[in-house]
């Protein structure tokens, strides 16, 4: 099977060419930088989701986590406008990590199936935003200056928001590729039983996976809120599905153990390009959801074709897929 990422990257370039033919204004350098800035938050979120998906989990609470951290920081910047931007970034990471840890404990230690747990925390976190803010919005004039300007300030010509996304993706790539803890994610997702025999703790890897997913959502939460200069209860609602769509497009398997940072990043860019290009090619933004739904289904169909064993078989040798994310995490019995 040819590697997926280069093929996907070529597809992305082709897409840009097609859009460029219809709307040359879209493919100018200035606009492409804007697209990159807009996709940064999605890129950070897909990296987090990858950690959850690799170990046969799923994290549906990412967008709610993002909105909660955003509201928390917006209120903080209102109360303490003197804080420097870097403090917000660190606090966002910590707050996201904490929310991720709540998921992690219930999934890895108590054994609640990931999809149920994160479906629950999705509404719990949204409810918490409501309790925290009393349903009020925090808008740009109520946030402090450094809070708002950080994402678009540039360092060596690169906007901070892109820089943070690159740093997150790079460290995640190094972690997954070159550390044994990172490699364990692939082992656990491919075969929990084999991983256990190899001395890998399923429980510890799962804990770490959901904590990292929360951490990424937290960082994205600060950047989202500061970039759009608004914090409200419904912030980023529906983003979780764009994130999961990007992962599927990037070749992540729901059955776990398969997926790469490069893949999910290209997937995220793909979704961002499709979404931002719609107004340029004069397509109503109302069809955006339908288009992303179609893309998810196509990506799923392509994935399933690629993973299916060659040749004809009348009865499968084993179940085609384990029920991903639906099963509680268990250490296989020895």
């Amino acid at each position: 099977m040819p590697r997926r990422e280069p093929a996907l990257a070529i597809l992305l370039v082709l897409l840009l060419v097609v859009i460029g033919l219809r709307a040359p204004a879209y493919v100018t350098a200035g606009n492409l930088v804007n697209v990159l800035i807009d996709s940064s938050v999605l890129c950070i979120l897909v990296v987090g989701q990858l950690f959850a998906l690799l170990i046969r989990g799923i994290d549906l609470s990412t967008a709610a986590n993002l909105a909660f951290v955003g509201m928390f920081l917006a209120l903080l910047s209102q109360a303490h406008p003197e804080l420097p931007a870097i403090a917000y970034l660190l606090l966002a990471a910590l707050a996201g990590l904490f929310l991720g840890a709540i998921n992690a404990v219930f999934i890895a230690i108590v054994g609640v199936p990931a999809i149920i747990c994160t479906l629950g925390t999705m509404v719990i976190y949204r409810g918490m935003i409501f309790l925290l803010s009393d349903g009020a919005w925090v808008s740009s004039h109520e946030m402090s200056q450094p809070f708002q300007t950080f994402p678009l300030e540039s360092w060596l010509g690169v906007p901070n928001i892109v820089l943070v996304a690159v740093l997150v993706a790079l460290s995640a790539w190094l972690f997954l590729r070159f550390t044994s803890t990172g490699r364990a994610f692939y082992a656990v997702g491919s075969s929990p039983l084999a991983a256990t025999f190899a001395g890998i703790s399923i429980r510890r890897t799962t804990l770490l996976g959901f904590i990292l997913s929360g951490l990424c959502s937290g960082i994205a939460g600060y950047l989202w809120t500061a970039r759009y200069a608004i914090a409200f209860t419904q912030a980023g609602q529906g983003l979780e599905f764009a994130v999961i769509a990007a992962c599927f497009i990037g070749g992540v398997a729901v059955s776990g153990g398969r997926g790469s940072i490069a893949g999910v990043l290209v997937g995220a860019l793909f979704i961002s390009v499709v979404q931002t290009a719609l107004p340029f090619v004069r397509v109503s933004p109302f069809v955006q959801t339908a288009i992303s739904g179609t893309i998810i289904l196509i990506a799923v169909a392509v994935n399933s074709r690629a993973e299916r064993p060659r040749g004809r078989q009348i009865l499968e040798v084993e179940e085609r897929r384990p029920a991903p994310a639906l099963m509680p995490i268990e250490e296989p019995s020895k």
Binding site: V110, I116, F241, A245
Partner: protein, 330 residues
């Protein structure tokens, strides 16, 4: 539970454990709510309150069967929205009440059939497929409704939304109870029901023993779609208007009802009695919280906690018991 002349305690003992827990919880919620608000135990209020969850309760029944086979459908709320839109279009084209409802049901059936065929045809787990169709169906709704609304529906339909039996029991609630009874009989007393459990326990073994597993899966997804169509019909009759956000987010509540009802998300176990009890429990809780003016998002928060607690409390108890026996964490 046909305990003829049996004491209430004996009936409770005959019920599976989880259903007994639900009955106790339901009693607790009812007692607590009647203490908090004097309006809670009003008969017509109580029956009217069922209108808040009838549509979700109706979808929870087929979804329970889908989950028992080890699958899941998270696109139900989006199917409801597409059905509502189809009904709006039909009504605008001048169809009468019966035809409008028929269009809604047919749309639901087709949407569910598409889900089922995709799941079986692609051989991918239904969580992935239905996340895709969740966006697709909602997207179709958004593309058609845009920022407008359908508000013109035939008069007899709107009257149906406000129809009561003996002036107390809403027609919709009656419908739900009848459908629940049919589901209970099919799931627990027929061969088809046994096969659904068999598929959930071990799809491969079920297939080797001659059960048309794929056909059952497609049929159950289609059935879920059909009842989404019915739910949409009742919703439209009751609301009299369709906007693009109709039923948005209610998939969570439907899944919560099913899981809280003791249906294992991994498949293979569950009862319709449990689903009905959890519907009543969630309904009573929501209604009670509404009566004491707790905002919707906070009610959702409580439901989220209930969902996680319903799975983690039994597991935590088992875990603690295990630790005690071994003397150290596993």
């Amino acid at each position: 539970m046909s305990g003829s002349g049996a004491s209430p305690l004996a009936i409770l003992r005959r019920l599976p454990a989880w259903e007994s827990v639900l009955i106790v919880l339901l009693a607790a919620v009812v007692i607590l709510n009647s203490q908090l608000s004097p309006y809670f135990l009003d008969v017509s209020n109580l029956f009217d309150s069922t209108l808040n969850f009838d549509e979700k309760a109706m979808i929870a029944l087929p979804l329970a069967l889908v989950i028992i086979t080890g699958q899941i459908d998270v696109s139900v709320a989006s199917i409801v929205s597409v059905c509502a839109v189809a009904m709006g279009l039909a009504s605008n084209a001048g169809a009468d009440g019966t035809l409008v409802v028929a269009v809604g049901l047919a749309t639901g059936l087709v949407a569910g059939l598409i889900n089922g065929l995709l799941v079986v045809g692609l051989g991918v787990h239904s969580i992935v497929v239905t996340i895709g169709t969740l966006s697709l169906y909602r997207g179709i709704t958004e593309a058609i409704v845009q920022d407008g609304a359908f508000t013109k529906f035939p008069k007899p339909m709107l009257a149906l939304g406000r129809a009561y039996l003996f002036n107390v029991v809403p027609f919709e609630t009656l419908c739900w109870l009848v459908i629940a009874a049919i589901f209970a009989v099919v799931l627990h007393l027929t061969i088809a029901g046994r096969r659904i459990f068999a598929i959930g326990n071990n799809a491969q073994a079920a297939r080797y023993s001659g059960i048309a597993v794929d056909r059952y899966k497609v049929a159950l997804f289609a059935l879920t779609g059909l009842l989404c169509g019915l739910a949409a019909a009742f919703l439209v009759c009751r609301l009299g208007s369709v906007r693009q956000s109709i039923a948005e987010g209610s998939e969570l509540q439907v899944v919560t009802i099913v899981v809280l009802g003791g249906v294992s998300i991994a498949g293979g176990t569950g009862t319709i009695a449990g689903v009905v009890l959890s519907t009543l429990l969630i309904g009573a809780l929501t209604y009670g919280l509404n009566l004491v003016n707790i905002p919707g998002l906070v009610v959702d928060l409580c439901l989220g906690i209930l969902l996680i607690a319903s799975i983690s409390v039994p597991r935590a108890i088992r875990l603690i018991a295990l630790w005690r026996r071994i003397g150290q964490p596993t």
